[in-house]
């Protein structure tokens, strides 16, 4: 797998660091990691930056993860970029809602690096 540029969106800076570490532990090589504290900040990052993968929380202030994913269709730098949700909201309804909004994967917190690998690698390989 080539080295990628990732965008991690979570209102917790601690969680952003953990997600980044988990991605590296999962064997995902990243040349650059961009961070945003909510959906609106993430959209702003994507105005100037192209990425290969987005990992996104759902419950965030200003703009939540589901609204962010919906708005990605209008962002040139996000065309075809896979989004994986990482959230405490683990119900079936939330998963269905996230997928219908355009997410390609869903990881429930708490999680392990192995679970990140299971969900992210197939998405990056275009198998999910």
């Amino acid at each position: 797998m080539n080295s990628i540029r990732a965008l991690i969106v979570d209102d917790s800076s601690v969680m952003r660091k953990i997600v980044e570490r988990s991605l590296r532990q999962a064997g995902v090589e990243m040349t650059e990691v961009f961070q945003a504290g909510n959906g609106a900040e993430a959209l702003s990052v994507l105005q100037d930056t192209a990425v290969d993968l987005i990992l996104c929380d759902i419950n965030m202030p200003v703009m939540d993860g589901l609204e962010f994913v919906k708005q990605l269709s209008g962002v040139a730098n996000a065309k075809g970029v896979p989004v994986v949700m990482i959230t405490t909201e683990g119900s079936e309804a939330h998963v269905v809602q996230a997928i219908s909004c355009g997410a390609r994967g869903y990881i429930r917190k708490p999680f392990t690096a192995e679970q990140v690998k299971e969900h992210v690698i197939p998405v990056l390989a275009g198998k999910s």
Binding site: S13, V14, I18, N59, T88, S91, E92, P110
Partner: protein
């Protein structure tokens, strides 16, 4: 996974939720901090230096709290971020808020129907122990006391309705 009604005790109390609260907590510490919580052999006094809280609203209304002393809070942050204890700095409140958030989310996801019907608030973290918490709880809090690296931690769920 059991439904809310199955898990209510005959007297309508929520005592039967205690094991789920404990399992939900243990899973968060095992997966995110890489450590096993233990049960204290004797009741230990807890210095509530740090209290993180997450509100629940919807089918279940209440507040979930995680309380511990400063040393335990710093150690949890260190384990979570995989950084030395003297490097945790200002991340302690964020880390404790996330732990509380994950325990609350994991707990509600273990009860059928509650995952969809119960929303979580963003975490709030109080530092300092000189405060009183006035709750609208209809019954005493469900409380789990565990040891994290030998340091006491309280996980309490106050149910409003």
């Amino acid at each position: 996974m059991k439904s809310m009604s199955e898990l209510l005790a005959a007297d309508g109390s929520h005592e039967n939720w205690l094991p789920l609260l404990e399992v939900a907590t243990r899973e968060v510490f095992e997966l995110m901090l890489g450590c096993q919580l233990t049960v204290p052999e004797t009741a230990q006094e807890v210095n509530r230096d740090v209290t993180s809280m997450v509100g629940l609203a919807g089918q279940l209304c209440g507040v979930l709290r995680v309380c511990c002393d400063n040393k335990a809070a710093a150690l949890m942050t260190s384990r979570m971020l995989n950084v030395p204890l003297d490097k945790v700095g200002s991340d302690v409140a964020d880390a404790l808020g996330e732990i509380c958030n994950m325990v609350a989310g994991n707990f509600k996801n273990k009860i059928t129907g509650l995952g969809d019907g119960c929303m979580l608030s963003p975490p709030t973290v109080v530092t300092g122990s000189d405060y009183d918490l006035h709750s609208l709880a209809v019954s005493p809090a469900l409380e789990v006391r565990l040891l994290f690296e030998g340091l006491p931690v309280i996980i309490a769920l106050e149910i409003h309705s």
